[in-house]
């Protein structure tokens, strides 16, 4: 079921969390709400879930205006950053909770919970309590619990934020596969642009309670709408009014044309690629990203003087 948010505003005291936000989330998509902390992305998710009442505007699930419906009537599945596991219940009871409060027949609950535990690979841990699970397992349990009631939409609030880097990477890949399997309209809130790019088909960039841009990961990276999006979705060099991605800077050892002279300050090895941190005469810092091979050919090391030339740059008109 698609989600439509129309001109939603929300204030907490003097703080404007959402300022006239309108977004359309297509049915069956996996959309990321991306923004820095305090940007309003979580508030938007909670407004969609019905956990927060907007001051103005509308929320539509499919064609139904659910703005004034309580969370329990909306048919959304929600996953929280800190798992929100029911600590006094076993994994099985956690997953069965939504079905039990809906008074589904016992046999149906049995089958469904079994199915879901298999889906999230926790079959063997059904009798454990949340305290006996790892963070990643807890979050998979929370996901199974949210999916148990066949939600129309699945809302994930920084679901991997409390996990360590490796588990986070695994779960991202797993979430993508899961979404291909179950195809429920999903929104994931994150402040991590890499996570958003890796997982989502569509990204909504939010900053200071406003939507800055909506697009596919590629669109955001290739043609950012403004300065904020440009610098938020990846590293960027600012040269006067122009913006250049580190990948779009080519280096040579000979001066050529309008290339700018700079000294290598540090070389960072990122695996396949190398990041060169440069500093110009006037003190301005530059980042250039090149392949291992290119770096070797130039014999880059600390103190070497290079000439940097942007191969592609962006200027935003204000």
């Amino acid at each position: 079921m698609g989600i439509t948010v129309v001109e939603v505003t929300k204030q907490f005291g003097d703080f404007v969390a959402l300022d006239d936000v309108s977004v359309a989330i297509p049915e069956g998509s996996l959309t990321a709400l991306l923004g820095p902390s305090g940007s309003g992305k979580s508030t938007l998710l909670r407004v969609i879930a019905g956990l927060e009442k907007p001051d103005g505007g509308q929320v539509l699930l499919g064609d139904d205006d659910v703005t004034h419906q309580p969370a329990r009537a909306r048919g959304v599945g929600m996953v929280f950053q800190h798992y929100a596991a029911f600590k006094h219940m076993t994994v099985w009871e956690n997953v069965a909770f939504g079905l039990k409060v809906r008074k589904r027949p016992k046999s149906e609950i049995e089958t469904r919970v079994h199915e879901l535990l298999e889906l999230v690979q926790l079959e063997g841990l059904a009798k454990r309590y949340p305290a006996q699970l790892s963070g990643g397992q807890r979050q998979r349990m929370a996901l199974a619990r949210a999916l148990a009631v066949d939600p129309e939409v699945l809302l994930l609030d920084e679901p991997f934020g409390a996990l360590d880097a490796r588990v986070r990477k695994e779960l991202r890949a797993w979430l993508r596969r899961l979404h291909e399997e179950v195809h429920v309209t999903t929104i994931i809130v994150t402040h991590d642009q890499e996570e958003a790019m890796e997982v989502a088909g569509q990204i909504v960039v939010i900053n200071q309670g406003r939507v800055e841009q909506v697009g596919t990961p590629r669109e955001l990276y290739e043609s950012p709408a403004n300065e904020f999006v440009m610098s938020f979705v990846g590293p960027v060099n600012k040269l006067g009014d122009t913006f250049v991605r580190p990948r779009d800077i080519s280096l040579s050892l000979e001066p050529e044309g309008d290339a700018t002279e700079a000294m290598v300050e540090r070389i960072v090895h990122l695996g396949f690629e190398v990041r060169a941190e440069l500093v110009r005469d006037d003190g301005q810092h530059l980042l250039a990203q090149l392949t291992q091979e290119e770096a070797q050919a130039l014999e880059l090391e600390r103190g070497v003087i290079v000439y940097a030339k942007p191969s592609r740059q962006t200027v935003f008109t204000r």
């Binding site: 329990r72 929600m78 909770f97």
Partner: protein
């Protein structure tokens, strides 16, 4: 090493001198002349009545304060309302006020010429009867459940409750199946403390009861009246009953505590 032992013996010695010795002495004096005089002293009708009255008052005050305590704790932690800070402060009042003040204020309210003193004329007897004594007990034992539950509610946060809500649970279902199980040890601990206070209360109850022998005497009041009447065996034997109830309470507390920490 020596410092550690000195500390240990210091702490134990302090407790022994101030707590164990006096209470132990009561036990000793009670059974000084054997078990039978003590048994006779606690099974006489007046002592029995006092014990019974104490238990009845506790049986009303404890559930009342438990229900009120849980509701108030939820209101204080989960809701914002005008006067919240004031309510929060007032809850602690019974801890700060001397029970005598509580007793006297109830006396002024319900006594002859008091605001609600007219009730007696309509056949509703508050003072010198069970209702007044129960009110006094409820007053002095009011804060314990609230004070135990508030920090736990704060710590568990609202995530679990909100998760239950999105899963389709109505507010009462969420309370019953999520919130209550999460705070159950705190409630249990609060109930134990409330019970201990309700059973042991002397000052406030003493004033509103009028201390009519065999009618409005609770166990602590009975101890006092027997002591004043030079029936030391009776006084000490009743003391032992109170001490045993306290001991049982402490044991129940010990059962609650470790589980609370493990959770």
């Amino acid at each position: 090493m020596t410092a550690k032992y000195a500390l240990r013996f210091g702490a134990l010695g302090y407790l022994a001198l101030l707590l164990l010795l006096p209470v132990g002495l009561v036990f000793y004096r009670t059974f000084e002349h054997g078990f039978h005089p003590a048994w006779a002293a606690v099974t006489n009708p007046e002592a029995q009545h006092a014990l019974w009255l104490t238990l009845i008052i506790a049986a009303i005050a404890v559930p009342a304060n438990t229900l009120f305590g849980v509701v108030l704790a939820i209101a204080l932690v989960r809701h914002r309302f005008p006067g919240r800070g004031l309510v929060n402060a007032i809850v602690d009042l019974p801890l700060a006020l001397s029970p005598v003040v509580v007793g006297l204020s109830l006396y002024l309210l319900y006594g002859t010429g008091g605001w609600l003193g007219g009730l007696a004329g309509h056949g509703i007897k508050i003072l010198f009867a069970l209702p007044g004594m129960t009110l006094a007990t409820i007053f002095v034992s009011l804060p314990f459940v609230v004070r135990e539950v508030v920090p736990v509610l704060r710590e568990i946060g609202t995530d679990q409750e909100q998760a239950a809500e999105t899963l389709g649970a109505a507010p009462f279902t969420t309370f019953w199946r999520i919130t209550l199980p999460a705070i159950r040890w705190a409630v249990g601990y609060g109930v134990v403390l409330t019970t201990a206070r309700a059973i042991g209360e002397f000052g406030a109850v003493s004033i509103v009861s009028g201390r009519i022998e065999g009618k409005t005497e609770t166990l602590p009041l009975y101890v006092q009246s027997q002591f004043e009447g030079f029936n030391t065996t009776g006084a000490f034997a009743a003391c032992v009953v109170l001490a045993l109830i306290a001991l049982a309470t402490v044991l129940v507390m010990r059962i609650f505590r470790p589980k609370e920490e493990a959770a």
